[in-house]
């Protein structure tokens, strides 16, 4: 775990992620200016650090209703505004970028932040960026696998000799600068299916598992498949961190939490995915066995501890700000995280 800058003795890490979406607040129908949204995201990271949160990450989506296409640049501003919190992408779409450039950016980010940068590499759920950035969607899977392999090779070796299908070969190429510890934690973003997790497992890469909703036990199969695949690939699962990431919202009670969160998720998903979130499924989100962390602080503590028992994962990453969530609600959540939720989680998951 040390290689990934994680010390399980300190208890499970608690993180926050944003997709960098830029959506109207359904209560008003209004969207804040994009400049304000970007500053809000930077401020969000600062406030998260003050609340004691371990990790903050920003996504890359090249489509309408998103603001952090240049997520590495946003992360750079966050690096400068913070001092302790780990910072990462969630995710960097490696398929449509040059891994050399991505590595240069994130190694620099690591130097700026004094060793706090990480990369989560993903494949994109929406695919408009293939046209925008000049790639062929027919190579969706091959592009990711090849570029992700190259990214990891650059991370492990300062001098790289490589050849592949989608870019010119590298001959004794030196990729600089190098990050603080010589290498960065690089995670593979996994959508929640065992098949996807197994690819991360075989390669011995940390898994960043995103989930919408459903029974936590259902995702246990994905976690088990990941660890089994890692073993089959000759890696020690005990050395490979797992992060889970999904919806989070704390309020005085679960009904209030549902009320405050639901319109943002439903209306936001309609715009970004073309389909809303059914109320029936959302109502089940407050059940102790559901993987969505929605409810009172005490209910959420119990949910996260239950999930930790099921997955034995090293990091949980919360998404709070989706769908034009007002900053005031975000601040209220951070306060509940900092004063009630985080201390309880650390207390029960720390080994020393």
């Amino acid at each position: 775990m040390e290689k990934y800058r994680i010390n399980p003795d300190n208890g499970m890490e608690f993180g926050i992620y944003t997709l960098g979406d830029h959506l109207p607040n359904p209560a008003t129908g209004e969207r804040i200016p994009v400049q304000e949204r970007i500053h809000d995201i930077i401020n969000y990271a600062v406030l998260a650090e003050q609340a004691g949160v371990d990790f903050f990450s920003v996504g890359e989506s090249h489509q309408e209703y998103f603001a952090t296409q240049a997520h590495a640049v946003v992360l750079s501003a966050i690096a400068q505004a913070t001092s302790k919190i780990k910072i990462a992408s969630s995710s960097t779409i490696i398929s449509t970028s040059d891994p050399v450039r991505v590595y240069e950016n994130f190694a620099t980010l690591d130097l700026i932040s004094n060793g706090r940068a990480e990369i989560v590499a993903g494949r994109a759920s929406r695919v408009g960026l293939f046209d925008l950035l000049g790639y062929d969607l027919h190579n969706y899977e091959d592009l990711f696998e090849e570029k992700f392999d190259l990214l990891r090779m650059i991370n492990e070796n300062e001098i790289v000799n490589w050849s592949g299908e989608f870019r010119k070969p590298l001959r004794d190429a030196q990729v600089l600068p190098r990050p603080v510890d010589g290498s960065l934690p690089i995670w593979r973003a996994v959508g929640g299916t065992p098949a996807s997790a197994m690819k991360a497992g075989y390669a011995g890469v940390p898994m960043f598992m995103a989930h919408l909703g459903g029974a936590a036990s259902q995702f246990k199969r994905t976690v088990d498949s990941y660890r089994e695949a890692a073993r089959a690939g000759g890696h020690d699962p005990a050395q490979l961190p797992i992060a889970t990431a999904g919806f989070f919202y704390a309020a005085e009670n679960s009904q209030q939490a549902l009320k405050e969160l639901y319109p943002h998720i439903n209306e936001g998903m309609k715009k970004t995915n073309g389909g809303g979130f059914p109320k029936q499924l959302f109502a089940q989100g407050v059940d102790p066995h559901n993987i969505m962390n929605i409810g009172s602080p005490q209910q959420i503590i119990e949910k996260i501890l239950y999930q930790h028992e099921v997955f034995n994962h090293q990091r949980y990453v919360a998404q709070i700000d989706f769908g034009g969530m007002p900053m005031d609600n975000i601040k209220k959540n951070l306060e509940l995280i900092g004063t009630e939720i985080l201390p309880a989680i650390k207390k029960y998951t720390a080994k020393k």
Binding site: V127, L137, Q255, L258, K259, G275, F282, A283
Partner: protein, 188 residues
Amino acid sequence: MKIVGLSGSQIGSKTRVAVTATLKAISEKYPDVETTLIDLADYKMEFSDGRNYLDYEGDTGFVTKTIMEADAIVIGTPIFQASIPAALKNIFDLLPVNAFRDKVVSMLVTAGSAKHYMVADTQLKPILAYMKAQMVQTFVFILEEDFYQKEIINHDVIFRLERLAEDTVVLTETFTKIREEKEAAYDF
């Protein structure tokens, strides 16, 4: 209420005639309902490559978005090689897995032989059920001899299409009402 009539073939006229007749029956009886005909013969559709339906452009994007915005869909299908046409299956492949959640779907079938009567039950309904459609269970099965010069000449077929039109609207109204009541009860 928005109802889309989908004529699921790139060739032939009978399915289009029957879908058009159904939409006309809806408009006459329920003038407030907004009806749209999509005849796949009029559009140049791409094959599904797995992307989100919002990411398709041109005709493919128009057709998928129009279907997703509908409250109900009347699907008309001919029978090709004892099954639904590839053009219609492609529509299903282009849409998300839950595309028909909270939508009503009704069906009419035009066929060259009565031997194909079970095709809708054995091949079309399972797809619609998987995609979470609320189905009007009784579909209208129409044979070649029911048409003459691009018109339906069998009065029994006309009556059945009128009932299909009525059932589609009534079921959509009913499920909308049930859903609204249920959603209000959640109080969030």
